[in-house]
Protein backbone atom coordinates (compact mmCIF):
# COMPACT_ATOMS: atom_id res chain seq x y z
CA UNK A 1 0.00 0.00 0.00
CA UNK A 2 1.75 3.14 -1.14
CA UNK A 3 1.67 5.83 1.42
CA UNK A 4 1.53 9.58 0.99
CA UNK A 5 3.96 9.99 3.83
CA UNK A 6 6.55 8.07 1.91
CA UNK A 7 5.79 9.10 -1.64
CA UNK A 8 5.72 12.90 -1.54
CA UNK A 9 9.04 13.40 0.23
CA UNK A 10 10.66 10.74 -1.89
CA UNK A 11 9.30 12.24 -5.09
CA UNK A 12 10.52 15.67 -4.09
CA UNK A 13 13.98 14.35 -3.24
CA UNK A 14 14.18 12.34 -6.45
CA UNK A 15 13.18 15.31 -8.55
CA UNK A 16 15.69 17.48 -6.74
CA UNK A 17 18.42 14.93 -7.37
CA UNK A 18 17.41 14.68 -11.03
CA UNK A 19 17.50 18.46 -11.42
CA UNK A 20 20.89 18.42 -9.74
CA UNK A 21 22.09 15.76 -12.14
CA UNK A 22 21.08 17.91 -15.05
CA UNK A 23 22.07 21.31 -13.74
CA UNK A 24 25.22 20.98 -11.62
CA UNK A 25 28.42 22.21 -13.19
CA UNK A 26 30.78 19.56 -11.85
CA UNK A 27 30.40 16.37 -13.85
CA UNK A 28 31.15 14.06 -10.94
CA UNK A 29 28.54 15.79 -8.88
CA UNK A 30 26.11 15.35 -11.72
CA UNK A 31 26.85 11.64 -11.88
CA UNK A 32 26.49 11.13 -8.14
CA UNK A 33 23.33 13.17 -8.14
CA UNK A 34 21.98 10.97 -10.90
CA UNK A 35 22.82 7.94 -8.79
CA UNK A 36 20.86 9.49 -5.95
CA UNK A 37 17.91 10.01 -8.29
CA UNK A 38 18.08 6.36 -9.37
CA UNK A 39 18.11 5.27 -5.73
CA UNK A 40 15.10 7.45 -5.01
CA UNK A 41 13.25 5.85 -7.90
CA UNK A 42 14.12 2.43 -6.57
CA UNK A 43 12.60 3.37 -3.22
CA UNK A 44 9.44 4.57 -5.02
CA UNK A 45 9.21 1.18 -6.72
CA UNK A 46 9.54 -0.50 -3.32
CA UNK A 47 6.76 1.73 -2.08
CA UNK A 48 4.67 0.49 -4.98
CA UNK A 49 5.28 -3.14 -3.89
CA UNK A 50 7.47 -3.81 -6.93
CA UNK A 51 10.29 -5.28 -4.85
CA UNK A 52 12.03 -7.09 -7.62
CA UNK A 53 12.08 -4.08 -9.94
CA UNK A 54 13.35 -1.90 -7.13
CA UNK A 55 16.28 -4.16 -6.34
CA UNK A 56 17.02 -4.61 -10.02
CA UNK A 57 16.97 -0.83 -10.37
CA UNK A 58 19.56 -0.44 -7.62
CA UNK A 59 21.69 -3.29 -8.99
CA UNK A 60 21.67 -2.03 -12.55
CA UNK A 61 21.56 1.72 -12.18
CA UNK A 62 23.55 2.36 -9.01
CA UNK A 63 25.77 -0.67 -9.32
CA UNK A 64 26.49 -0.52 -13.03
CA UNK A 65 25.25 2.52 -14.93
CA UNK A 66 26.38 5.09 -12.36
CA UNK A 67 29.79 3.45 -12.16
CA UNK A 68 30.02 3.46 -15.94
CA UNK A 69 29.15 7.14 -16.05
CA UNK A 70 31.72 7.92 -13.39
CA UNK A 71 34.35 5.95 -15.25
CA UNK A 72 33.55 7.72 -18.48
CA UNK A 73 33.80 11.06 -16.73
CA UNK A 74 37.22 10.16 -15.45
CA UNK A 75 38.40 8.73 -18.77
CA UNK A 76 37.33 11.84 -20.68
CA UNK A 77 38.83 14.31 -18.25
CA UNK A 78 40.24 17.39 -19.87
CA UNK A 79 37.55 17.47 -22.51
CA UNK A 80 35.56 20.03 -20.64
CA UNK A 81 35.40 20.94 -17.02
CA UNK A 82 33.78 23.36 -14.71
CA UNK A 83 36.15 26.05 -15.90
CA UNK A 84 34.49 26.25 -19.32
CA UNK A 85 32.44 29.33 -20.07
CA UNK A 86 29.06 27.71 -20.20
CA UNK A 87 27.89 24.22 -19.46
CA UNK A 88 24.78 24.74 -21.54
CA UNK A 89 24.17 24.74 -25.25
CA UNK A 90 23.56 27.97 -27.06
CA UNK A 91 19.87 28.63 -27.46
CA UNK A 92 18.99 27.42 -24.01
CA UNK A 93 16.08 29.84 -23.75
CA UNK A 94 14.20 28.19 -26.61
CA UNK A 95 15.20 24.83 -25.20
CA UNK A 96 13.63 25.66 -21.89
CA UNK A 97 10.52 26.90 -23.65
CA UNK A 98 10.21 23.64 -25.54
CA UNK A 99 10.68 21.73 -22.30
CA UNK A 100 7.94 23.79 -20.72
CA UNK A 101 5.64 23.04 -23.64
CA UNK A 102 6.43 19.34 -23.30
CA UNK A 103 5.77 19.36 -19.59
CA UNK A 104 2.45 21.09 -20.13
CA UNK A 105 1.49 18.65 -22.83
CA UNK A 106 2.27 15.75 -20.52
CA UNK A 107 0.76 17.08 -17.31
CA UNK A 108 -2.40 18.74 -18.57
CA UNK A 109 -4.07 15.64 -19.96
CA UNK A 110 -3.20 13.77 -16.77
CA UNK A 111 -4.80 16.40 -14.58
CA UNK A 112 -7.82 16.65 -16.85
CA UNK A 113 -8.77 12.99 -16.85
CA UNK A 114 -10.94 12.14 -13.82
CA UNK A 115 -10.28 8.40 -13.94
CA UNK A 116 -6.68 8.95 -12.85
CA UNK A 117 -7.76 10.31 -9.48
CA UNK A 118 -8.34 6.84 -8.18
CA UNK A 119 -6.54 5.43 -5.14
CA UNK A 120 -4.52 2.27 -4.92
CA UNK A 121 -6.26 -1.05 -4.55
CA UNK A 122 -5.47 -2.62 -1.19
CA UNK A 123 -2.89 -5.16 -2.29
CA UNK A 124 -1.00 -6.07 -5.37
CA UNK A 125 2.29 -7.87 -5.12
CA UNK A 126 4.81 -9.10 -7.63
CA UNK A 127 6.17 -12.32 -6.12
CA UNK A 128 9.56 -13.34 -7.47
CA UNK A 129 8.33 -16.81 -8.25
CA UNK A 130 5.58 -15.42 -10.49
CA UNK A 131 8.02 -13.12 -12.24
CA UNK A 132 10.36 -16.02 -12.81
CA UNK A 133 7.58 -18.24 -14.10
CA UNK A 134 6.37 -15.58 -16.50
CA UNK A 135 9.88 -14.86 -17.71
CA UNK A 136 10.29 -18.52 -18.57
CA UNK A 137 6.91 -18.92 -20.25
CA UNK A 138 5.11 -15.92 -21.63
CA UNK A 139 8.13 -13.65 -21.83
CA UNK A 140 10.66 -16.32 -22.83
CA UNK A 141 11.21 -14.83 -26.27
CA UNK A 142 11.71 -11.25 -25.02
CA UNK A 143 14.01 -12.61 -22.33
CA UNK A 144 16.16 -14.42 -24.90
CA UNK A 145 16.14 -11.35 -27.11
CA UNK A 146 17.18 -9.16 -24.21
CA UNK A 147 19.99 -11.61 -23.43
CA UNK A 148 21.17 -11.45 -27.01
CA UNK A 149 20.93 -7.67 -26.96
CA UNK A 150 22.97 -7.43 -23.78
CA UNK A 151 25.63 -9.76 -25.16
CA UNK A 152 25.80 -7.75 -28.36
CA UNK A 153 25.97 -4.54 -26.36
CA UNK A 154 28.76 -5.94 -24.19
CA UNK A 155 30.85 -7.02 -27.17
CA UNK A 156 30.01 -3.87 -29.08
CA UNK A 157 30.91 -1.60 -26.20
CA UNK A 158 34.24 -3.34 -25.74
CA UNK A 159 35.06 -3.09 -29.43
CA UNK A 160 33.99 0.54 -29.72
CA UNK A 161 35.90 1.63 -26.65
CA UNK A 162 38.96 -0.47 -27.47
CA UNK A 163 41.98 1.76 -27.99
CA UNK A 164 43.27 0.63 -31.37
CA UNK A 165 45.68 3.55 -31.63
CA UNK A 166 47.85 2.15 -28.87
CA UNK A 167 51.39 2.03 -30.19
CA UNK A 168 52.46 -1.51 -31.02
CA UNK A 169 55.96 -2.23 -29.74
CA UNK A 170 58.14 -2.67 -32.79
CA UNK A 171 60.01 -5.94 -33.36
CA UNK A 172 63.15 -6.33 -31.34
CA UNK A 173 65.75 -5.82 -34.02
CA UNK A 174 64.03 -2.75 -35.44
CA UNK A 175 63.81 -1.01 -32.13
CA UNK A 176 67.56 -0.76 -32.10
CA UNK A 177 69.06 2.16 -33.96
CA UNK A 178 70.45 0.85 -37.17
CA UNK A 179 74.00 1.28 -38.03
CA UNK A 180 74.05 3.12 -41.30
CA UNK A 181 76.42 1.45 -43.78
CA UNK A 182 76.75 4.54 -45.97
CA UNK A 183 78.26 6.39 -43.04
CA UNK A 184 81.50 4.56 -43.57
CA UNK A 185 81.41 5.06 -47.31
CA UNK A 186 80.58 8.72 -47.12
CA UNK A 187 82.83 10.93 -49.26
CA UNK A 188 85.41 12.79 -47.29
Amino acid sequence: MPSELVFYPLAALTLAAAIGAMALRNLVHCALSAAAAFTGLALIYLDLNAEFVGFAQVLVYVGAVAILIVFTVLLTRGADGPWRASAFSPGWVTGLAITGLLLACLVLPVLMSPSLKRLAPPSATAPVADIGRQLMTRYALPLETAGLLLTAALVGAVIIALDETRPVPPPADQSLPRRKPQLEESPR
Binding site: A50, Q57, S89, A120
Partner: protein
Protein backbone atom coordinates in the same frame (compact mmCIF):
# COMPACT_ATOMS: atom_id res chain seq x y z
CA UNK B 1 -3.79 6.95 2.70
CA UNK B 2 -2.33 6.24 -0.71
CA UNK B 3 -1.46 9.02 -3.13
CA UNK B 4 -3.76 9.15 -6.17
CA UNK B 5 -2.55 7.68 -9.42
CA UNK B 6 -2.09 11.01 -11.12
CA UNK B 7 0.48 12.02 -8.52
CA UNK B 8 2.77 9.35 -9.91
CA UNK B 9 2.03 10.41 -13.46
CA UNK B 10 2.73 14.05 -12.76
CA UNK B 11 5.93 13.03 -11.00
CA UNK B 12 7.03 10.96 -13.95
CA UNK B 13 6.13 13.77 -16.36
CA UNK B 14 8.29 16.15 -14.34
CA UNK B 15 11.15 13.66 -14.25
CA UNK B 16 10.82 13.15 -17.99
CA UNK B 17 10.92 16.87 -18.60
CA UNK B 18 13.98 17.29 -16.41
CA UNK B 19 15.75 14.53 -18.30
CA UNK B 20 14.67 16.02 -21.60
CA UNK B 21 15.86 19.48 -20.62
CA UNK B 22 19.25 18.03 -19.70
CA UNK B 23 19.43 16.09 -22.95
CA UNK B 24 18.81 19.12 -25.14
CA UNK B 25 20.56 21.78 -23.06
CA UNK B 26 23.78 20.29 -21.71
CA UNK B 27 26.85 20.51 -23.87
CA UNK B 28 28.48 17.41 -22.42
CA UNK B 29 27.65 14.18 -24.23
CA UNK B 30 27.79 12.14 -21.02
CA UNK B 31 25.09 14.26 -19.48
CA UNK B 32 22.98 13.90 -22.60
CA UNK B 33 23.09 10.17 -21.96
CA UNK B 34 22.24 10.67 -18.29
CA UNK B 35 19.27 12.72 -19.41
CA UNK B 36 18.15 9.88 -21.64
CA UNK B 37 18.43 7.46 -18.72
CA UNK B 38 16.24 9.72 -16.62
CA UNK B 39 13.65 9.81 -19.38
CA UNK B 40 13.63 6.02 -19.54
CA UNK B 41 13.24 5.85 -15.79
CA UNK B 42 10.30 8.23 -15.94
CA UNK B 43 8.62 5.83 -18.33
CA UNK B 44 9.32 2.98 -15.89
CA UNK B 45 7.58 4.87 -13.11
CA UNK B 46 4.49 5.00 -15.29
CA UNK B 47 4.61 1.28 -15.98
CA UNK B 48 4.92 0.39 -12.33
CA UNK B 49 2.25 2.86 -11.26
CA UNK B 50 -0.24 1.66 -13.82
CA UNK B 51 0.51 -1.94 -12.81
CA UNK B 52 -0.05 -1.15 -9.14
CA UNK B 53 -3.25 0.85 -9.70
CA UNK B 54 -4.52 -1.17 -12.63
CA UNK B 55 -7.37 -3.66 -12.55
CA UNK B 56 -5.21 -6.75 -13.20
CA UNK B 57 -2.10 -6.55 -11.03
CA UNK B 58 -1.66 -10.32 -11.13
CA UNK B 59 -0.84 -10.11 -14.85
CA UNK B 60 2.51 -8.43 -14.02
CA UNK B 61 2.69 -6.82 -17.46
CA UNK B 62 3.92 -3.48 -16.15
CA UNK B 63 6.56 -5.11 -13.98
CA UNK B 64 7.82 -7.15 -16.88
CA UNK B 65 7.95 -4.14 -19.13
CA UNK B 66 9.89 -2.21 -16.53
CA UNK B 67 12.37 -5.07 -16.12
CA UNK B 68 13.04 -5.31 -19.83
CA UNK B 69 13.27 -1.56 -20.00
CA UNK B 70 15.96 -1.60 -17.29
CA UNK B 71 17.90 -4.27 -19.17
CA UNK B 72 17.73 -2.30 -22.39
CA UNK B 73 18.69 0.92 -20.63
CA UNK B 74 21.80 -0.83 -19.30
CA UNK B 75 22.76 -1.91 -22.81
CA UNK B 76 22.09 1.58 -24.09
CA UNK B 77 24.26 3.16 -21.41
CA UNK B 78 27.11 0.75 -22.10
CA UNK B 79 27.14 1.34 -25.85
CA UNK B 80 26.48 5.07 -25.52
CA UNK B 81 29.30 5.65 -23.08
CA UNK B 82 31.64 3.48 -25.16
CA UNK B 83 30.80 5.73 -28.10
CA UNK B 84 31.56 8.79 -26.00
CA UNK B 85 34.96 7.37 -25.13
CA UNK B 86 35.66 6.51 -28.75
CA UNK B 87 34.69 10.01 -29.86
CA UNK B 88 36.84 11.49 -27.14
CA UNK B 89 39.80 9.51 -28.44
CA UNK B 90 39.35 10.85 -31.93
CA UNK B 91 38.48 14.46 -31.17
CA UNK B 92 39.74 15.11 -27.66
CA UNK B 93 36.35 16.61 -26.95
CA UNK B 94 32.87 15.49 -25.94
CA UNK B 95 31.06 18.75 -26.66
CA UNK B 96 27.82 17.96 -28.42
CA UNK B 97 27.92 20.92 -30.78
CA UNK B 98 31.13 19.60 -32.28
CA UNK B 99 29.53 16.36 -33.33
CA UNK B 100 28.13 17.57 -36.61
CA UNK B 101 29.81 15.40 -39.21
CA UNK B 102 26.42 14.09 -40.24
CA UNK B 103 25.06 17.44 -41.33
CA UNK B 104 23.30 17.77 -44.65
Amino acid sequence: MSPPLFAFLVFSACLFSVGFAGAILRRNAILVLVGLELMLNAANVNFIAFWRYGPHPQALTGVMFALFSIAIAAAEAAVGLALVIAIYRHRKSIQTEQFDSLKG
